[in-house]
Symmetry: C2
Subunit: 438 residues, 2 copies
């Protein structure tokens, strides 16, 4: 190649520094890495001391000038957050430049607008780093699984919550204590809401769902339950019943749903979930992520690895830069985009009515310790056609008893009706926990 591929890097935080470090040290990596050159880097504060020094001509605090620079062929956005990231991405696309971004928040919310603009401009927007850190998952979904009818995507896609749950599972440490530890180790942010409330996982499952099923869904309507109210006792009871608890994000094809013409109904949710101990996702611990894909005829495949961190995320960003560089070699003025790499929607999808989501459920009820109560509960479930896998009473004492119910698969609508009736029972003090169960 006569000319190097010029990269304009927006952001030089941990991920940006990781990307620069790879591109500046091409030895032992794919030879295409040495055909890539960092032309400009936009930083917030030029005066900050950095571990790596760059020629003063490369650094600037004017991000727009980086996007506009004629030597920049590919814009790499690793600023994060919605703005100015979104505006800069759109500007790059309009200037006919391909974009690599690690920004799940922008893609989950503005992915459709961005994809349409990219297709119009004939450029790529690649997002491998937006989900699963270093794990190759976006590209396999786009390029390796296209022959399949995919049925379900199930992911542990938030490292912070998986770290917290793994720690809670090990001992009897409570949520607040482990969250504090995670914060001091840098695994959780000072304001951990996006992680622990499941919002980050919801962003990511929205993205994976769009790739797996070929159409976007309304990110803001995904039923999302985080881990903030998870009790150690639920982890303990789950363990006694043979399960680990993981925060799972799921998108699955429904055969029924609130029908929208020519649109595929999807059940999508984020929820703490009991995972049987011999299930491949049960062994995914610490800050690791894993994504399980089920389809026909492939069966089940799982992708596992570090879900966050400067190095893994930089690896994913560089993969995308290499892909664009590789395709550029085929000619600078391609009339078409590779439809596997391009950000294409090829089907309408919609979120099914939450009442139509079919799940196994874990319930913990606080009841009076009276002999008939399990019978009453069982009767109500029976009347609502909710089939029960197990009812176990834990921890009966003078203040009452705890009853844990695991159902077979039922619609959330049926579940809600049953719980409404169960709450009316005089012996039932309250429904204290409700989770999904694989």
């Amino acid at each position: 190649m006569s000319k190097k591929v010029g990269v304009g890097l927006l952001g030089l935080g941990t991920v940006g520094s990781g990307v620069a470090s790879i591109l500046q040290n091409p030895t032992d990596r794919h030879p295409l890495v040495s055909d890539i050159e960092i032309v400009k880097i936009a930083v917030k504060d030029l005066s900050r001391t950095r571990s790596t020094t760059f020629p003063s001509t490369i650094l600037t605090d004017d991000a727009i000038s980086v996007v506009d620079n004629p030597s920049v062929d590919v814009v790499v956005e690793v600023i994060g957050g919605i703005e100015p990231a979104r505006t800069l991405i759109m500007r790059a696309i309009k200037a006919g430049k391909s974009v690599v971004t690690a920004n799940k928040a922008v893609i989950a919310r503005h992915g459709e607008e961005i994809a349409q603009a990219a297709n119009k401009s004939g450029v790529y927007v690649l997002i491998e780093a937006a989900v699963g850190g270093g794990i190759p998952i976006i590209e396999p979904l786009k390029q390796s699984l296209g022959g399949n009818k995919l049925n379900r995507v199930t992911g542990i896609i938030n490292g912070t919550t998986n770290y917290i749950l793994s720690r809670m599972a090990k001992g009897d440490e409570v949520y607040e204590k482990v969250l504090n530890d995670a914060q001091s180790l840098g695994y959780a942010e000072a304001n951990p809401a996006a992680d622990v409330e499941g919002l980050d996982a919801a962003d990511k499952i929205a993205i994976l769902s769009g790739l797996a099923f070929g159409g976007n869904i309304d990110r803001s309507s995904i039923p999302t339950q985080g881990i903030t109210s998870l009790q150690s006792r639920d982890i303990d009871y789950a363990n006694q019943l043979g399960y680990a608890i993981k925060l799972l994000a799921v998108s699955e094809r429904l055969n029924k749903g609130n029908e929208v013409p020519n649109s595929l109904p999807l059940a999508v949710w984020v929820q703490p979930t009991l995972v049987p101990r011999d299930h491949p996702l049960a062994g995914v611990n610490g800050v690791n992520n894993a994504i399980l894909i089920e389809g026909e005829p492939i069966g089940e495949v799982m992708f596992y690895g570090p879900g966050a961190g400067a190095g893994p995320t930089a690896s994913a960003v560089v993969a995308d830069i290499l892909n664009i560089a590789g395709i550029r070699l085929l000619g600078d003025s391609n009339q078409y985009l590779d439809p596997l790499l391009a950000a294409t929607s090829w089907r309408k999808c919609h979120l099914a009515n939450p009442n139509d989501i079919v799940q196994k459920n874990y319930l913990r009820l606080k009841t009076e310790d009276s002999p008939g109560v399990i019978g009453h509960i069982g009767n109500i479930f029976g009347k609502q056609n909710v089939s029960i896998q197990s009812i176990v009473q834990f921890d009966a004492n003078s203040s009452g008893a705890e009853i844990v119910v695991i159902t077979h698969k039922v619609s959330q609508g049926q579940m809600k009706h049953s719980l409404d009736e169960i709450k009316e029972l005089t012996a039932v003090i309250g429904v204290e926990a409700k989770m999904c169960c694989l």
Copy 2:
């Protein structure tokens, strides 16, 4: 796209039928699937009854005519075996046609010749189905990990042996019995040698090694130990010490080795291996495969899924066809190949001297039940600088004792010297098992 991409299918066995079934039923799959058309299918026996019917104009028993057919753009080879597969692949390449093959035996032995011819002709030879069945592993290695300095590839890449080992681990069934079961279930062939002697795994690690490190190695010189002599007692002892036994295929970068100028020394082997029970590979059971990749800066990523079977393998073959079809949309007469997809060697690699391979070892020694024997063994290892993790005596009785030694990491050269001396001890009846240990 105005014109469909024409596929010539060589072979209509289980994988070929699976591929045809996907291509004939595009609904719910990536829309690019409907742009692919099976033009011709070469079969061995035209008179055989088949579950799927094809127009008689499509089937032929003349494979060469399929390769030569001007409407065939992509040749898909799913015959298996060395010949005539190799000749047909080379013929397709020379005719300027891209090739998709599931043939690990041909690629492991003739990969370099094929790659050179493909690059000369400006065509792709894609091999996703050759390793790991349906698991996307070739494409992620080529396209998603290029920013990394890879250090090690470790795979459970033979489903037959993993099934046998998983069954043996469950109970006290012996090798021969489980092999018989595997044969009657269709998991093992009537002549199981290629699988159980590790040859199939050696083919596959040769391919993965070439992709991970950018250069070919001599397939025929890979130290290969199968599972034919594995005893149930070793599985039992390993279990008591906290390990599962898996047949692992490994390729790793060595920092030393028998130096060849400008060439990367690699330690490559296939060997039954003790895997700590909390290691991600330990939970891979049945006919599943998994490949663990270690690199910098990514850390560890693992790819897991069905390692064989018509459906998964067909999924991988179709992925490759889609990739070629996607790139064809960029223009039919590309002057260059995408260097990430093309079959490129970009570095010289060579197999290190087996004595320089550094491993932890599991040894089972048959000894007389005399009090000094552990001391004598320990002394010899000490003299050879072999550091010991544990020595445990199992099963002492009148006919002698069994001593299991797990070493720390040592070179196989040191190991051999130690074992030569240990065999000379009068109290040592024999070294009855030697395996690797993670």
